[in-house]
Structure formats: C-alpha cells, structure tokens
C-alpha cells in the first residue's frame, strides 16, 4: 500500500497536462490504487489527481463521504480519462488544495456536471454529480490539465490565506 507524497507548488508536475491513458493500460488501475491509498492518509481530503503524486496520467479519486460538509455523493470513486460532457448551474465557492496548503480561493464551478470516464476495471461509466461532489470533480479534472485553482481566481478579493486556529 504505497502512500505517495503529495507534491506542492512549485513542483513542475503540477503545471503539466497529463496525456490520456490507452484503454486497458494497467497503469490506470495502478494509479487509482496509489491515489486511494494516499487519499486515505490525508484526513479530510476529498480528492486527489495523479499529477499531485507525480504521475502524469489522467486518473483521479474522489471520496465525498469523507467530507466534513455532508453532501450527496457516490462514495469512493476512481476515474480514468474523465471528460466533462455537460456543466451547468455555475456558482462561486471557497476551495483549498493539498498542493497549496496555506491558501484558499473563491472559484466559480458548475454545481451539476455529467462525466464520461472509465472505472478501475476499464469499464465505461457515465455519471452525474451535483453540489460539492461536482466541485471536487472539476478541481481534480483541472489538475489533469495542469490548471490549479489559483488560475481560476476572478477577482483580487477571491484569494485568502488559510487562517490556522491558534494553538
């Protein structure tokens, strides 16, 4: 069960676009396994994309059942070559990212998306996500394109330092 270190900015992996996996490539399911093991090691983290652990592949995991904000979710889900085919109900919300541990930003995301992808067995899936789960998916899919949440800020008032509780 390898728990991989999560890369932080300015690691160059984070700004690269990951190439699509060839269907059936065993590298895909392996990446999902590594991502799941790594996600489990970060309490409160609801999603990870392969480039964040130094793997340039279009693979991600989300698990909104771990969220401190209760929301509708599919539980733990690993997706390969995900593609957003529909997006609607755009709304801003505040996000953080393991790759930028000290910053938060308001980012506008669709509250309803439809995603076509492959699961860990290379079976095709077609899923609809809503609310915070849709937001998490968009954040992770952005990672596959080398887009970080700071790239999506639309106003100077949308960037914040994460205030840590005084110890």
């Amino acid at each position: 069960m390898p728990v991989l270190p999560v890369l932080t900015y300015p690691n160059p992996f984070l700004k690269q676009k990951a190439p699509a996996l060839s269907p059936g490539d065993p590298k895909g399911p392996q990446a999902l396994k590594d991502l799941e093991d790594t996600l489990s090691a970060y309490p409160g983290c609801v999603g990870l994309a392969a480039p964040q652990v130094g793997c340039l592949a279009r693979a991600l995991v989300v698990d909104l059942s771990r969220s401190s904000r209760p929301c509708e979710n599919h539980g733990r889900l690993g997706l390969l070559n995900p593609e957003i085919v529909e997006a609607s109900q755009w709304k801003p919300g505040r996000e953080g990212c393991l790759s930028f541990p000290d910053l938060l930003a308001n980012v506008k995301r669709a509250q309803r998306i439809r995603v076509k992808a492959f699961d860990g067995k290379w079976e095709q899936v077609d899923l609809v996500f809503t609310g915070f789960e849709a937001v998490a998916l968009q954040h992770e899919i952005d990672h596959l394109d080398g887009i970080l949440f700071l790239d999506r800020i639309r106003s100077s008032k949308d960037l914040f330092e994460r205030r840590k509780a005084a110890t």
Binding site: T8, Y9, P10, N11, K15, F100, P101, D102, L103, L148, L150, D151, R152, I153, R154, S155, S156, K157, D158, L159, E161
Partner: protein, 181 residues
C-alpha cells in the same frame, strides 16, 4: 459643499479598533463612506473616506480622532479630497483581473507593476500573500486593473507572457465578467 476626508490608520491588531474609530465619526456626525480595512499579519490597516457635516472642519475631525488613535496605538494621517477626486476613476476603461503566483523572490510586484504603468494600466486593488510553502515560500498576488481599451490589454498580455518566463511565475490575466441577473 460636502467635504470628504481620506483617512488612513495602522496599528497593532486588537479587538475594538473599528468600534473606537467609528464611534469618533458617529459622535461627530460624519458619514463613513467607502472603506477598506484588513489585517496584515499582526497589524490592522484602515483606509476610509468620510464625509463631514457642514458644521465640522477637517481640523475638528483630526482633534477628535487623535485621542482614540493614541489610546489604540494607531498611526494615522488624513487629507481633504479636492472636488475632482470625489468622483470615481475615468470611464471607458476595461476591468481585468491579474493573478500571479510563484516562488517568492524580490521584484515580482515591481516588475509587474512597472509593466502595467508603462502600458498606462491603472491598478485599482492589490492583495499579496507570502505563505511558507513546504518547499519554498510562495508569493501570490491578485490585482484588479483598468485597461485603456482592448489593444492595451493585448500589449500588456504579451509583456506578461515574457515576465512569466523571466520571473518564473504563473500568470492569469482575464477580463472581469459580470453577469446581469
């Protein structure tokens, strides 16, 4: 004619600063208009516009603010706005948002702001943060700017591309989108 005063104050952050200052304005029948107040690390910084009632002079206000500033450890300064400065900035310019982030090193703000100034681009709001970062301190900057026309935006965009490589930072420069609902 209505008199407007610009006041800035800065001092060690503690609960009660805003209450103390706004009490002075309230007691002197001044209106608190536009303001921006924020905490920067352990200091609290205040920038505000106040309009004075007919029966008060700027000097009256200064005398009223002084004891509060002393009590709360604030360094403050104020000036009366000439009539021409009481209106918002020039119209016809296009609002853009610029976000820059990268490993902290001297000169990021200067080089970006200098390029903006040379393209006659006006910075209207600027926030910067230095956060520790596990590998190296991260500098992040977000600003609102007014661009004099689409050609100006194109020229500045090209200069930002060059600066991005030179300063080794990430840059995003986008027109502000507003949705009418």
């Amino acid at each position: 004619m209505k008199k407007q005063i610009a006041l800035s104050a800065v001092g060690k952050d503690q609960p009660g600063i805003v209450a103390a200052l706004s009490k002075v304005f309230f007691d002197n029948q001044c209106n608190l208009e536009d303001s921006s107040m924020t905490r920067l690390k352990g200091d609290f910084a205040v920038l505000l516009l106040i309009s004075l009632p007919e029966n008060r002079t700027p000097e009256d206000l200064r005398k009223a603010v002084e004891p509060a500033a002393q009590k709360w450890g604030l360094v403050f300064s104020m000036r009366e706005l000439p009539p021409g400065e009481m209106e918002p900035g020039a119209s016809g310019s296009l609002p853009y948002t610029l976000v820059v982030y990268g490993v902290d090193h001297p000169g990021i703000v200067y080089r970006i702001a200098q390029a903006a100034a040379e393209e006659r681009i006006n910075i209207t709001d600027l926030r910067t943060h230095v956060t520790p970062g596990p590998q190296a301190p991260l500098y992040s900057l977000a600003m609102e700017v007014e661009v004099p026309g689409a050609r100006g935006a194109g020229a500045f965009g090209k200069r930002l591309e060059a600066l991005k490589k030179e300063l080794k930072v990430e840059v995003s420069f986008k027109a502000v989108e507003a949705e009418e609902l």
